[in-house]
Amino acid sequence: MNWVEILTVALCLLLIVAAIFAVYQKDLILAVIGTSAISVALSALYFILQAPDVALTEAAIGVALTTIIFVITIKKTKRYEE
């Protein structure tokens, strides 16, 4: 196994862990942080799979803009899931 394969497997594991965290977390702010961690891992994976255009989009939209829009929405509604 070379280091690219190891990195790919690690990123996939991070994706799954972050997704499970985002689903089961009761604090919605932390759940949003989980989804943005998914975006970071996904962006790196796109780059490894030779799609830098998609990686740039995922990094700009998924990490920054979606997260801030969710945070604003949570701030205007309730922070904790019942």
Binding site: P52, D53, L65, I68, I69
Partner: protein, 232 residues
């Protein structure tokens, strides 16, 4: 009973997903239409980046639709959150470390965004990515300075002018006697087709992507400003 059905459905869907995934040839040379695009892109459109050539040239009309969708979404959000009184953001100022750092980083982020959309036909990225990067830079300033304001009139002017530029570049193809969004500047006089390191090398593709970059940047900035102003 319902749970059993759901599990059965999941198993079927999962089986087909895995079957598709195992048959995707990652990293191999593309066949069929992919090979055609990779072969013909440099000579037909002049763009070294095949993704940009497909987004702006081969599928340019779809991109116009996407830009329209984004415009409608931003306009709808602005209409819902509209307030006559002209609200101020209520966020407190950030700490001095964040403020000074963001003051230094902000021009660099905007510069990176402009680089990404101007060099869309040479390097990865393009109008959407560059516009989003610029919007994140402005967002950083919004979050750290309470007094940082954007001029909404200027933003809507930039947005409209960029949209008009896109459509009139498309219509120029019709005026030239070819089709809508035809790359009229490629062929004949222009050199450096499909070569890296040549900024002026892909006809109207860079012009369209610059317009898209301005438009997306202005739209997302206005959208973020509208949303941040609603926080109590």
């Amino acid at each position: 009973m319902r749970k059993a059905l759901a599990i059965l459905l999941l198993v079927i869907v999962g089986y087909y997903f895995i079957a598709i995934f195992l048959n995707v040839p990652f990293g191999n040379k593309p066949k069929g239409v992919g090979e055609y695009y990779l072969d013909k892109t440099p000579t037909q459109t002049g763009a070294a980046n095949a993704v940009t050539a497909i987004v702006v040239s081969y599928r340019g009309f779809d991109t116009l639709g996407e830009v329209t969708v984004l415009f409608l979404a931003a306009t709808g959000l602005g209409a819902i959150l509209f307030d006559k009184k002209g609200k101020k953001r209520r966020l407190q100022n950030a700490s001095i470390i964040v403020k000074e750092t963001s003051r230094v980083i902000y021009p660099l982020i905007v510069l990176l965004g402009a680089y990404v959309f101007i060099h869309g036909h040479l390097t990865p990225g393009g109008g959407f990515q560059g516009g989003a990067i610029i919007a994140t830079g402005v967002l950083l300033m919004f979050m750290s300075y309470r007094s940082f304001e954007t001029n909404h009139g200027a933003l809507s002017w930039i947005e409209s002018l960029a949209g008009i530029t896109f459509v009139s570049l498309g219509l120029s193809g019709l005026i030239w006697g070819t089709s809508f969004l035809q790359n009229i500047l490629v062929g004949g006089a222009q050199q450096n087709l499909g070569q890296l390191n040549h900024l002026v090398s892909a006809g109207i593709i860079p012009l369209i992507y610059i317009a898209v970059g301005f438009k997306v940047g202005a739209e997302l900035t206005a959208l973020l400003d509208n949303m941040l102003k609603t926080i109590k």
